[in-house]
Symmetry: C2
Subunit: 202 residues, 2 copies
DNA sequence: ACCTGAACACCGTTCAAGT
DNA sequence: ACCTGAACACCGTTCAAGT
């Protein structure tokens, strides 16, 4: 057992988040229990409640890390693609790849249902918005002169759509198997949406 | 306490499913526990395991009812709309309305993650497919002569998209509030997809 | 001051025992 | 034959007590 002052509060927090990430990545979100987490970092359950509000807080913070990793991946794509049409397509591919490569962690992000009486924390909402911004930016390039609001709406419409393809496919509900098939429906969605968008907006 | 032969196995099952539906509708999926369910129908926990495999089985069967209710709503829409373009739009609206009016039940359908070692039961998958079929049918009308496979793909691409808009919006992740705004992004998705689809396929 | 670990009020699931 | 309810192995969360 770790004893007083072996680690700072911040160190314990980071250890716990890393352990949480590993547990979820390997065994899925249901394996993320207080007792397991505590034993992984060499402390007892009680200590977790000194650094986190509760387990939901841990979940949210592990999810934040997952969203950060996803943002990083998407940025790599944006850096490589100049043409907005192509870029949006590649962002879709990257999203699906990420979801499929990190299925347990990615699942936890979208499994999580906020308690009805409390709202999503602001810092968490901002991380989600920042993901959408990467797509909005491409819509801005696609047809210059559109209002920011219209681009935001289009990005949300299309990107939620890609997300929907991803969830249903990866949870087996689309009755298609393998990443290739999600890519197929997602590409179809993106290509047709963009074709429609371009033809009606210029 | 109910005693022997008060109800048949089938009656107990139906009572439990109805009680489960009410519990979830009112208090959300986390409230669906074996003890609560048992006490609602006047039996003890043990009895539940005589008529269901486990709690997951109960969840799946309550979900099946929810999917049936959704199918019914969608059929009403199809019956009223002759023009496929309009019909697909109205199906989207009906989907969002259903999700928003039955948020707890609808949430449970998509919260549920199948155990990794066992697949979705066939009877359950068929219910999902039957939902997609309603959209496929409209794609068949939209541009006659397309292969069934292409219509199935298009229906899955677009409908998963509408679903994605719905989940993200209703779980507060889209940063938009109210049903009106989901309808806005969903309409946008449908309209542009269809415009793209029609323009590239004739 | 920091951390423990027992306690509380819950879970899902099983199965010997009662009627 | 049908159903119970105690038992088992878990949960999340709290907080008096120990070092």
């Amino acid at each position: 057992m770790a004893r007083r002052s072996d680690h700072s509060r911040e160190q314990i927090k980071q250890m716990a988040l890393l352990a949480g990430e590993n547990i979820v990545a390997e065994y899925g979100s249901t394996a993320l229990t207080a007792r397991r987490l505590a034993s992984h970092i060499g402390y007892t359950v009680g200590s977790l409640y000194l650094v986190f509000e509760n387990l939901d807080d841990v979940t949210l913070q592990v999810n934040a890390r997952t969203l950060d990793k996803l943002s990083f991946e998407l940025d790599q794509v944006v850096a490589k693609q100049a043409e907005p049409n192509q870029c949006i397509s590649q962002l879709g591919r990257a999203y699906i790849q990420f979801a499929s490569n990190n299925s347990h962690l990615w699942n936890m992000v979208f499994e999580h249902r906020q308690n009805e009486n409390e709202n999503i924390p602001e810092w968490y909402q901002e991380r989600i918005n920042s993901l959408f911004e990467r797509v909005e930016l491409q819509f801005g390039k696609l047809i210059p002169g559109q209002s920011a609001q219209q681009n935001a709406l289009a990005a949300r419409a299309l990107w939620s759509g890609v997300h929907g393809n991803c969830v249903l496919a990866l949870t087996g509900k689309l009755d298609v198997v393998g990443v290739e098939n999600v890519e197929k429906t997602s590409d179809l969605l993106i290509d047709n949406f963009l074709a429609g968008w371009v033809s009606t907006h210029q």
